[in-house]
C-alpha cells in the first residue's frame, strides 16, 4: 500500500479536502425532512409486522394459542420458533439468542411470536389476542449469585459468560499508600432517536430477500439473518435504511430476522417498526457493573499496583459481553503507567435485559472506577489531582497490564495540561443578573422548578482522563472494503460503511478529493453489493473505512498517473497531486486532474486490514488491542447540597485526535459524546425491579436536554499517528468515557466545600438522594 504522507497536503487545504469542514452531503435532505430513515420506507402492497414479547423475566412457555388472533380481519401470519427454517439462534460472538423463545423466556421483552397484518392497529390487536400460557420460574437477578453458582443454569451455556484474570508483574507488590473502593455503574440506554425499523421485500419465488434496515454492520447482520432463514448469504441482500443514531444499540440483531421471516412466509413486503417502549426491550444496553478496585502507590502518588474485581451483568444473552469485559479489565489502569496488577473479571448471565455494545464499550465502567480512585489517591497523598494524573501519565512505549506496548502517539500529559489551560466559566452561579436583579433560574440547579437561590449553590470542579482502544480486539481479523471509480471526471465511492450520523459520508469524499484532486465525488448506495466494512463502532470507521477509501483512491490514482505518464511521456513515479492538478514538480508540468481523466474509466477496490492482535492467555497477557486514543475532561458543576440537584456549568476537554480530518465533525462527536457521559453521570439509568423494567419510556428514562448540557470548550491535540492510515484516530468514544467521572468528581468537590468531608458518590448515575441524604 502506498504510504500516507503523499495524501497529507501542506499549507491551506482547499475546501472539501481533508482538514476542512465541508457540509454533510445528506444535510439539506435531513433539514428538509426528505431524508429517508428506515422508518420512512414503504413499498406497494406492504404489510406490517409486530412482535409478541415475554412479560416474565424467566418462565417456561407451556402453550401458544394463536386462534383468537386468526379471527381478526386483516391478520396474515402468526409465526413462532417452530417457523424458523434455519438456525434457531443468533448472536455476535456466540449464537445463544433465540429468534423466538422456544420453551423458555429469559427476559422481559424476549420475542415469543410475530404477526403480520394489513396495518399497525390490526397488528396490535392480533398481538393482544395471542394467548400464551407461561409457567413462571424463579429469575436470576443477582450477578453474584451467577458467579457463586447459587442458581441453576438459566441457559444451556451456563450462567457465566466469561471469566478472565490478568496478572501482571509482581502480584504481591505493595505501596506505601493504599486506597480502595467499590463502584457501581447503572444500566444505560443508547436511546437513539430513530427507532428500530425495517422493510423486507421477498424475491419472487421466495429464494431470497432484500432488507432495508438501520444497522451498524450490514454484513454481520446478513450472515446472522441468512443462517436463521436457512438461505445462502448471497440470497440475502441488505440495504442501509437511513439510521437515526446507533451508539452500539444497532450492532445486534433486533427485528431483522422477524421481518424477513414474515415477508418470505407471505411473499409480500413487510415493514416492522418498534415503539419507544419496545425499543427499550428490543436492543442491548450498556452493562451495569460492580467494580472493586484497590490502588497501591508510593508516598508521592506513583502507582505501584492495581487490584480489581469487575462484575458485568450481561443479562439473558451473551451479545458482546465477553469483549466488553476484556476492554474493562485490560484498560483498568486507565491512561496511567502501572507495573503490577491483579484483575479478576466476570461477565455473567442473568434474567435482566441483555447488554452489549454502547459507546465506550467497557472502558466507561472501568473509567468511573479508576478515575474515582485517582482522586482518592491524590487526596491520600495530598497531591493535586491534576499533578497526580500527570505524574502517572502513560507515554508512547509504556505497557498495558496485559504486557502490550502502547505504540501509538500517547499525549496523555498534554491532554491533561491543555484541559487545565482552558478558561473556567466566567459567569457566577446563576449567571449574570437578570433585569430584575435576580438570578437566571434556568442557570441554577433545578431550572424552571425554582428550587434554589444562588446562595444555596456551591460550585465544584472535577477531573477525568481516559484511554480507549480503537477497533476490534483479541485476534479479530478486522477489515474494511471500498471501491473507487472515476468516469468522465466524476468520482464514485462505494462502501458498506454504515452512516449512523457520525459523518463518514462527509469524510469519504474528502479523502477522495485530497487523494485524486477531483472535487466532484458521489456516493453509491450503502449495501451488501460490496465487501464488508465492519461495524460502525469501536471508533473504527475513520481509521478502517477511511483507510479502505484511501487505499482504493490511491489505487485509482496510480492508474491515472500511469495513463497521464504514458500520454505525456512522463514518469508516473514522479507525479503528485497538487490541489486539483496533477503535477511533475521537477519540470513544472501540470494538468487539471479532471481533464487528465477525460474519456477514461478507472475502477479499483481495496481492503484495509489493521495489524493482527492476539488473544489473552490465562494470565491475561497478550496484545489484544489495535490502537489507543486518550482524552481529559474537566467539569464545573453547580450543586445544591440540600436538595441534591446539579447543573453542569461547563465541560473542558483536550482530546488526542491524531489529525482532525473534519474539525467540525470532530467537535460534534466531542459535544455529543460528552452529553451521553453527562447522562450517565446524573440521570440516565434503566431501572429493573425483579427483572421487570420500570422506566422504559422517555417520560421516565431521562435524557439530557438543552438545559442540562453545558457549553463545551475543547482543544484538539493533533499529533498525527504514524500507525493510522490518515494520521487520524477515532474520536467517537473518548468523549463519553471520562466526562462521567469528571462530573461526579466535581459534585464531590462541591460537597467537600460544604462540610469538609463530602460524600463518596460511588455510584452512577448520582441521584439527588445520594447527595443530600
Amino acid at each position: 500500500m502506498t504510504i500516507v504522507e503523499e495524501t497529507a497536503t501542506t499549507g491551506t487545504a482547499r475546501h472539501g479536502a481533508l482538514g476542512t469542514s465541508p457540509t454533510r452531503p445528506d444535510g439539506v435532505a435531513k433539514v428538509q425532512g426528505s431524508f429517508e430513515f428506515s422508518s420512512d420506507i414503504s413499498a406497494d402492497g406492504c404489510l406490517w409486522g409486530a412482535t409478541l414479547r415475554s412479560p416474565h423475566p424467566y418462565a417456561r412457555i407451556v402453550s401458544i394459542d394463536p386462534s383468537a388472533a386468526w379471527q381478526i380481519d386483516g391478520v396474515q401470519a402468526v409465526i413462532t420458533a417452530e417457523d424458523v427454517p434455519g438456525q434457531m439462534t443468533y448472536g455476535l460472538i456466540s449464537q445463544d439468542q433465540p429468534v423466538f423463545a422456544g420453551d423458555v423466556v429469559r427476559y422481559v421483552g424476549e420475542p415469543v411470536a410475530a404477526v403480520a397484518a394489513d396495518d399497525p392497529e390490526t397488528c396490535r390487536r392480533a398481538i393482544e389476542a395471542l394467548a400464551v400460557e407461561y409457567e413462571v420460574l424463579d429469575p436470576l437477578t443477582d450477578a453474584e449469585a451467577a458467579i457463586a453458582g447459587d442458581h441453576p443454569p438459566i441457559h444451556p451455556d451456563g450462567n457465566v459468560i466469561r471469566h478472565q484474570r490478568i496478572v501482571c508483574g509482581d502480584p504481591d507488590a505493595t505501596g506505601e499508600v493504599v486506597v480502595e473502593g467499590t463502584y457501581e455503574i447503572g444500566m444505560q440506554d443508547q436511546a437513539f432517536l430513530g427507532l428500530e425499523a425495517a422493510l423486507a421485500i421477498p424475491d419472487p419465488g421466495g429464494k431470497g430477500v432484500e432488507l432495508h434496515i438501520a444497522t451498524q454492520w450490514l454484513h454481520e447482520d446478513r450472515a446472522q439473518i441468512a443462517a436463521c432463514l436457512g438461505l445462502p448469504e448471497d440470497a440475502v441482500r441488505l440495504v442501509l435504511g437511513g439510521v437515526g443514531g446507533a451508539f452500539g444499540a444497532r450492532e445486534d440483531i433486533s427485528l431483522q430476522v422477524h421481518t424477513c421471516l414474515l415477508a418470505l412466509r407471505l411473499a409480500r413486503p413487510v415493514r416492522m417498526a418498534y415503539s419507544r417502549a419496545e425499543s427499550f426491550l428490543g436492543h442491548v444496553h450498556r452493562h451495569p457493573a460492580t467494580i472493586w478496585m484497590r490502588h497501591h502507590a508510593t508516598g508521592t502518588g506513583e502507582i505501584v499496583k492495581i487490584e480489581s474485581r469487575m462484575v458485568f451483568d450481561g443479562g439473558a444473552y451473551a451479545s458482546t459481553s465477553s469483549a466488553v469485559l476484556v476492554n474493562a479489565i485490560t484498560l483498568a489502569q486507565g491512561p496511567y503507567r502501572c507495573p503490577n496488577a491483579v484483575v479478576d473479571g466476570w461477565a455473567v448471565r442473568t434474567n435482566h435485559l441483555p447488554c452489549g455494545a454502547m459507546r465506550g464499550f467497557g472502558a466507561v465502567q472501568a473509567c468511573f472506577a479508576y478515575e474515582t480512585q485517582m482522586d482518592r489517591l491524590a487526596a491520600a497523598c495530598d497531591v493535586d489531582p491534576v499533578d497526580l494524573r500527570i505524574l502517572n501519565a502513560m507515554r508512547t512505549g509504556d505497557t498495558l497490564i496485559t504486557g502490550q506496548p502502547v505504540l501509538n502517539v500517547a499525549p496523555v500529559a498534554e491532554c491533561i495540561r491543555e484541559t487545565a489551560a482552558l478558561p473556567l466559566p466566567d459567569e457566577p452561579v446563576g449567571g449574570a443578573p437578570m433585569p430584575d436583579g435576580g438570578p437566571d433560574v434556568m442557570k441554577l440547579p433545578g431550572g424552571a422548578g425554582r428550587t434554589a437561590d444562588a446562595s444555596n449553590i456551591v460550585r465544584g470542579i472535577g477531573w477525568g482522563a481516559s484511554i480507549k482502544n480503537l477497533m476490534y480486539s483479541e485476534a479479530f481479523d478486522d477489515y474494511s472494503t471500498a471501491r473507487c471509480r472515476i468516469e468522465d471526471g466524476v468520482v464514485t465511492l462505494k462502501f458498506a460503511t454504515a452512516e449512523v450520523g457520525q459523518g463518514f459520508v462527509t469524510l469519504a469524499p474528502q479523502i477522495a478529493r485530497t487523494v485524486l484532486g477531483i472535487d466532484d465525488v458521489r456516493l453509491d448506495r450503502i449495501d451488501t453489493l460490496i465487501g464488508s466494512s465492519g461495524s460502525t463502532s469501536a471508533s473504527r470507521q475513520t481509521w478502517m473505512s477511511g483507510g479502505a477509501v484511501n487505499a482504493a483512491c490511491l489505487a485509482v490514482r496510480a492508474k491515472i498517473f500511469e495513463h497521464v505518464a504514458s500520454s505525456n511521456g512522463l514518469d508516473a513515479e514522479t507525479l503528485l497531486i497538487d490541489g486539483t492538478d496533477i503535477v511533475e514538480p521537477a519540470t513544472g508540468w501540470r494538468q487539471d486532474a479532471v481533464e487528465a481523466c477525460a474519456g477514461q474509466t478507472f475502477d479499483e477496490t481495496a481492503e484495509y486490514h489493521h495489524p493482527p492482535t492476539t488473544e489473552l492467555d490465562e494470565h491475561g497477557q497478550g496484545s489484544p488491542h489495535t490502537a489507543f486514543a486518550f482524552v481529559a475532561h474537566r467539569a464545573v458543576v453547580d450543586v445544591d447540597p440540600d436538595l441534591g440537584l446539579v447543573k453542569v456549568v461547563q465541560i473542558a476537554t483536550a482530546q488526542d485526535v491524531g489529525r482532525a480530518l473534519n474539525p467540525l465533525s470532530v467537535i460534534g462527536q466531542i459535544e455529543g459524546g460528552i452529553a451521553q457521559g453527562l447522562g450517565l453521570a446524573v440521570m440516565e439509568e434503566i431501572i429493573q425491579i425483579d427483572g421487570v423494567i420500570r422506566n422504559g419510556n422517555f417520560t421516565d428514562y431521562l435524557l439530557p436536554t438543552f438545559l442540562d448540557m453545558p457549553p463545551v470548550v475543547a482543544t484538539l491535540i493533533e499529533e498525527p499517528d504514524p500507525l493510522a492510515p490518515l494520521g487520524a484516530k477515532g474520536v467517537g468514544e473518548p468523549p463519553t468515557i471520562s466526562s462521567t467521572p469528571a462530573i461526579v468528581a466535581a459534585i464531590r468537590d462541591a460537597l467537600r466545600q460544604v462540610d469538609g468531608v463530602g460524600k463518596p458518590l460511588h455510584r452512577v448515575p448520582v441521584r439527588p438522594g445520594d447527595i443530600c441524604l
Binding site: 443508547q190 467537535i667 438543552f706
Partner: protein, 162 residues
C-alpha cells in the same frame, strides 16, 4: 366533531382528505401514514422528544399528542411546508452549515421549533434558546452546534433588518 372517520385537514396550504383513519389516531400518524408526509418523526409517542413537532394555528405542538380529527379547520404546517425542496430556509441552511445535523432524526422537529422561536423572539438569549428548545431532544450533537445555528440565523436576520 362526530364519529366520522372521513375529514379534511389543511396542511401546508393544501386541503388534504383523510379517508381511512381510526378515531383517536394521532396527527403524526395521519401525516406520515395517510398523507405521505414523513418529515415529522415519531420517537417517543409521549411528547417527550419533540421530533414530531409541527405548527397548528401558529402554535408549536407535538403532533403525536394531537388527535388528527381535532385539527379539522386548523392550519397545519410541517417541515415540508417550510421551504421548497432544494431551497432550504435560512434556519435549515444554518443547521447544515453549523454542523447541527448528525443522524438528523431530531432535525425536522428542531427546524419547526427554531422557526417558531425566532418568529416570536428574533434575538434570543442563550437561556431563551435553551428553554424554548428544551422539548426537542437530540442524542447526537450535545446541542452545541444547534445553538450556534440558531445564533447565526438571529444575527443574520438582525443584520438584514438593519
Amino acid at each position: 366533531m362526530s364519529e366520522a372517520e372521513i375529514y379534511r385537514l389543511h396542511v401546508n396550504g393544501e386541503r388534504r382528505d383523510v379517508t381511512d383513519s381510526w378515531v383517536g389516531e394521532s396527527l403524526l400518524d395521519v401525516l406520515r401514514d395517510r398523507l405521505g408526509l414523513v418529515g415529522a418523526k415519531g420517537a417517543c409517542e409521549q411528547g417527550e422528544c419533540g421530533s414530531c413537532s409541527v405548527i397548528v394555528d401558529d402554535e408549536l405542538v407535538c403532533s403525536c399528542l394531537v388527535m388528527a380529527a381535532s385539527a379539522v379547520g386548523q392550519r397545519i404546517v410541517t417541515v415540508e411546508g417550510i421551504a421548497a425542496p432544494g431551497t432550504p430556509s435560512d434556519v435549515q441552511q444554518a443547521f447544515v452549515d453549523a454542523g447541527a445535523v448528525q443522524c438528523g432524526f431530531c432535525t425536522p422537529g428542531l427546524i419547526m421549533a427554531v422557526h417558531d422561536l425566532l418568529d416570536r423572539t428574533p434575538a434570543p438569549t442563550d437561556t431563551e434558546i435553551r428553554e424554548e428548545l428544551a422539548g426537542n431532544v437530540c442524542r447526537c450533537t450535545g446541542y452545541g452546534r444547534i445553538i450556534d445555528a440558531v445564533q447565526r440565523v438571529a444575527v443574520a436576520r438582525t443584520e438584514r433588518a438593519s
